[in-house]
Assembly symmetry: D2
């Protein structure tokens, strides 16, 4: 893991797959995996989201929360609506909560994407049980590396 | 190959990636690979379209024409617009011509999809040099099998 | 396909998976796929042999003959015995006939490998129904390309 | 991880890729990944050993030791010699230490394989920093799961 800093707050316009909005404060005590994606991003569809689904399944009985963040910064007409995203989540059987990153008032990158200075999609975040951002990675992480990082953070939470 | 019948005409609302509409008559003399897909169909995105792109590249110097047909039968609000499809083709670097199957006046399956009695997406069609429909397959075909079918049809055209 | 020449005769020390030795003359009228391999060649094990098995299965009802040629040019102590090869064929469930290329009297490349001027393993050969060598390829061929080449040669045999 | 017991001692006939024999006692303080394999076991070659190589590379700067154990229980004539194994390790670029499990005096399973009651190959073992056997798995483990188990054990060692 490459950092240990307080994460910027999430600016989410709407949530799907969850009855209640999700907040960083509400996740305190759990390890959090965030996958920032766009539904028309090939690397997200072929690698990032399938990996997040594997993590969601593998760690189902642990304290890992898996959260999607739809950070639309291009093709707004095609992927900017809640309906388009809902259809996508349905077809790809993505059952974990997904927030729609709030668009910027000035166009360009949406607000959370900007606050984290993300370089594109997919971007993976890991937040530890104490609420610190411990990893931020643009592009693909190998499964073994992501698994090891999650394993370390889960273990930290259970000790001293 | 499992059939040899005249193909139903294509009912295409709009074409992308081509300056002129494409017709079965205009393709006579060439072998034609058609991939019927939806942009939010996971099997199309992960297997059918990458395969069509491989065929497009492998047979670039031959008489094979590769054509996409966007047969939207669900999630119209998400994938029914030309803009959504154009964004998708751009992101997935699909450069071959793609026609938007004409919606039915009564809802349900679009017109070409109905005329071919397609069961879903992806569906692969192969048309021979004489304009006969020789193969129609719903789901995935292995690359070797599709290659063999194309090879046979290309060879037929150069003899007798 | 890149050539059309008479193939050099095969110099085979022993055959496995066949009651009778196999000869080029005996294969006349059929299309022949030859995979030259070594049991300790990673590219053969991971790609070349699985591909030959796919071809063997896909074209089981056609006139394609699939033949292996064990062209040992290194690690003779590990892969040079019939027993080692037999164990390998058993474990990898390779049921098509495999000939052991005859060692050279002077060491170095075995005789058939030399006669074909093969550059290493895996090497793929295709022979047409008239007994002409039509393709020789060192390294991996994509499934679609090999399928197309086989399809063309199978088709040629049924015309003219 | 499914267990926490003292591991049986290793009965190794010879070691490759290491100047000195390796012992459980000498590894105390490190996390140890053991891959028990046979060079003619397809599941070992296609999945288990590539995974061990990925772990060896990914955790190169950590306290993980990766060890191979050649547990030959069949095809002794083909894979039972040091020369055969050395050729295999060379071709597959396996650079971590590999021990040859000592054959049983009575035939059948080699001694270490017996002592661990392994059901076949590949079998994966994980030993923690305190020298306890924490995981034993026959067949394939997904990369994310193995990564998580290694990450947890590496983390345990640095706390308390």
């Amino acid at each position: 893991m490459n950092i240990s800093i307080p994460p910027a707050p999430w600016q989410v316009q709407q949530w799907l797959n969850t009855p209640e909005p999700i907040t960083l404060a509400g996740l305190r005590g759990r390890v959090v995996l965030v996958i920032a994606f766009q539904m028309l991003c090939p690397g997200c569809v072929s690698r990032g989201l399938p990996q997040a689904l594997r993590a969601h399944s593998l760690f189902a009985d642990s304290d890992l929360a898996v959260i999607g963040l739809h950070t639309v910064f291009e093709h707004h007409e095609a992927q900017g609506s809640r309906a388009a995203l809902a259809a996508f989540l349905h077809e790809y059987r993505i059952g974990f909560p997904v927030g729609i990153d709030a668009p910027s008032a000035y166009g360009g990158l949406p607000q959370t994407m900007q606050a984290y200075n993300m370089q594109g999609t997919p971007t993976t975040l890991l937040i530890d049980r104490k609420g610190q951002l411990r990893l931020q990675h643009f592009g693909h992480l190998e499964d073994m590396e992501l698994g090891a990082a999650i394993g370390r953070l889960l273990e930290q939470g259970t000790q001293g």
